[in-house]
Amino acid sequence: MSAPTTPAPHPTTHRTMTMVAAINDALDVALGADNTVHIFGEDVGVMGGVFRATDGLQAKYGEARVFDTPLAEAGIVGMGIGMGLAGLKPIAEIQFAGFLYPALDQILSHLGRFRHRTRSRYHLPMVIRAPYGGGVHTPEQHADSPEAILAHTPGVKVVIPSTPTDAKGLLLSAINDPDPVFFFEPIKLYRSTKEDVPVGDYRIPIGKARLVTQGDDVTVICYGGMVEVAQKAAAAAQAAGIGVEVIDLRTLVPMDTDTVLASVAKTGRAVIVTEAPRTAGFHSEIAAVIAEEAIEHLRAPIVRVTGYDAPYPPFTAVEDVYRPNPVRVAKAIRQVMNY
């Protein structure tokens, strides 16, 4: 199981899917290909997950391989670590990223450092999936974006797709990765779009950003739920004659700095968009990398468009104030253009 990632096969057929269907499809492929793969978490069995990401998988693969756990996140992650140590491929679901916190001890103390502390004698090929982010009027703590906490944890990878195809391709890469991978799924995008997704074992490498749009004037760096927001802002800017290059990072750890730096070298302007709180977020890391490695190309200060330094508001009437929208991103684009 410590074998290196196998190269992506070339699929020939496609099926139209939402992101959540694509995730379900990826899990199905993984379960079918490798009987060490096990899926577990709260309500993933009979119910098929609160978002239906595991729908039908227990019926197809049995209760031993797709099972409900007791309600305890530390238990879910800790058990997953043990399963991974002993030769299985655990795929855990945390029902909402905001409920990952009880498991942080297992993650920070062990998941991230197991390879290191056993000098690679043991490694953890574990995937933890968690729906994250806002925009759908959920109750308190259901809309958190805690990706920076994980990105700041050595030894774990962090992947966040923004399209159905990416969700499938990246998830299958995550499952086949020898190291632990956090896979955050933007709730807002679960069902909002459909796309032709390759059938079968389709993979997109971890660590490669996606160029969403090309342009010469501004680079907008984003990921997950913010990609569609950035795309809308880019389309508006494009109409006003500003060329915007939207980069979907796809992977925070490892981050594809080459793509980011090459784009900033071309445009000389960078806007970073995330729905996480502003202080000490992953966007700050992106800004730091640009400042360290491409400052000579910058024609304007880097601008961050983010959530705010307050808990994500559970107040439906003003929720949309917190989460960056195309208007705020467009304003940031104008700001770097007019500097």
Binding site: M47, G48, P70, L71, A72, E73, P139, Y308, V321
Partner: protein, 356 residues
């Protein structure tokens, strides 16, 4: 499992019957809770209430327990414990506001030590131990009561709290509402334990199992536990055995995970009906006096609804309020951003209107 009255209202333990006024009080509170639950569904369908977790059928479990507290005690409720919070005195209007996702639902009355409904599971349990301990250290006789579900009792926090409370002799009353389900997971898949009250044994504290659909029984055991805590006897775990007939939330579809056979028999154990039949049989209530009571409750609810309707919507910059006692420079700057953005958007909207 302790029962004071049978599902048909017949008295099983005459020695444990509370006085008539208390029985009537419990009935009134159960009716208020049920009214909230029933009207809540309608309001949800009308778009006047957000998604909320129903608790209809669990009134005895919530009302009988919370009724054993006074306003000087602490209540740590989960999202499903609207009935308990109402019983302790949380105003209906505030409760409606909370489930409407209005900040007015987070402002708890100054004369109550009730926390906003906890959304993360089990985190409230250790906190209740701390509150209980603080009361004790400050020399009061006040206690803390915390609620949790059967699912929640799998979390580490639950076990740490029970252990702490026992070790430190905290005046805490832990209510474990075993309603059979954690969303789609039945209790038998949650744990191999079949008597959750016995979890107390592992921590050296008393554990009590009670019929959670019998308000007189839940009230009796909780009063005893509260008394013990007040007088220095330490914590108690009370398992109220009840059932969630309703979906997990008003937006959930239980047909995906549950059959009619699972629900069978529980309607006949309805806690409100049980006490009602008892009160009528004992002559403590007549059909006429009950009708007055229901009219009262309905009027109280509609007045509260009107009050909740009158609460203003939050303003955009309010999302940054109450983060720190004194906003940080960063928050001040972010507030300015929001205000500027809001002004710009309002102006744009007005421009649209004028053009139209």
């Amino acid at each position: 499992m302790l029962q004071v009255i049978a599902p048909d209202g017949a008295v099983i333990r005459p020695d444990l019957l509370p006085d008539p006024a208390t029985r009537l009080h419990l009935y009134r509170q159960m009716r208020r809770a049920r009214h909230f639950d029933e009207r809540g569904w309608v309001l949800y369908r009308q778009g006047r209430l957000g998604v909320f977790p129903p608790f209809g059928g669990m009134e005895a479990s919530q009302v009988g327990t919370a009724a054993a507290l006074t306003k000087d005690d602490w209540l740590f409720p989960t999202y499903r414990d609207t009935g308990a919070a109402l019983t302790l005195g949380l105003p209906i209007a505030r409760t409606l506001a909370y489930w409407r996702t209005s900040p007015h639902g987070w402002h708890m009355p100054a004369d109550l030590k009730v926390l906003p409904f906890y959304i993360p599971i089990a985190t409230q349990y250790p906190q209740a131990v701390g509150a209980a301990l603080a009361e004790q250290r400050r020399g009061t006789r006040n206690v803390a009561m915390a609620f949790i579900g059967d699912g929640g009792s799998s979390e580490g926090d639950f076990h740490e709290a029970l252990n702490f409370a026992g070790a430190l002799n905290a005046p805490c009353v832990f209510i474990l509402q075993n309603n059979g389900w954690a969303i789609s997971v039945p209790t038998r898949h949650q744990t191999r334990a079949t008597d959750l009250s016995r979890r107390a044994d592992g921590y050296g504290i008393p554990g009590v199992r009670v019929d959670g659909n019998d308000a007189l029984a839940t009230y009796h055991v909780t009063r005893e536990a509260v008394e013990r805590a007040r007088s220095g006897g330490g914590p108690t775990l009370i398992e109220t055995v009840t059932y969630r007939i309703k979906p997990h939330t008003v937006a959930d579809d239980p047909t995906r995970y549950r059959t009619d056979a699972d629900n069978a028999g529980w309607d006949a154990k309805d806690p409100v009906t049980r006490l009602r039949v008892h009160l009528l049989a004992e002559g403590l209530m007549t059909e006429a006096s009950e009708a007055d009571l229901l009219a009262d409750i309905a009027a109280e609810f509609e007045a509260a609804l009107a009050e909740a309707d009158s609460y203003p919507e939050p303003t955009p910059a309010e999302i940054l309020d109450h983060v720190f006692a004194e906003p940080t420079p960063q928050l001040k700057k972010q507030r300015e951003e929001i205000l500027a953005e809001h002004v710009a958007q309002t102006q744009a909207a007005q421009g649209h209107k004028e053009q139209a």
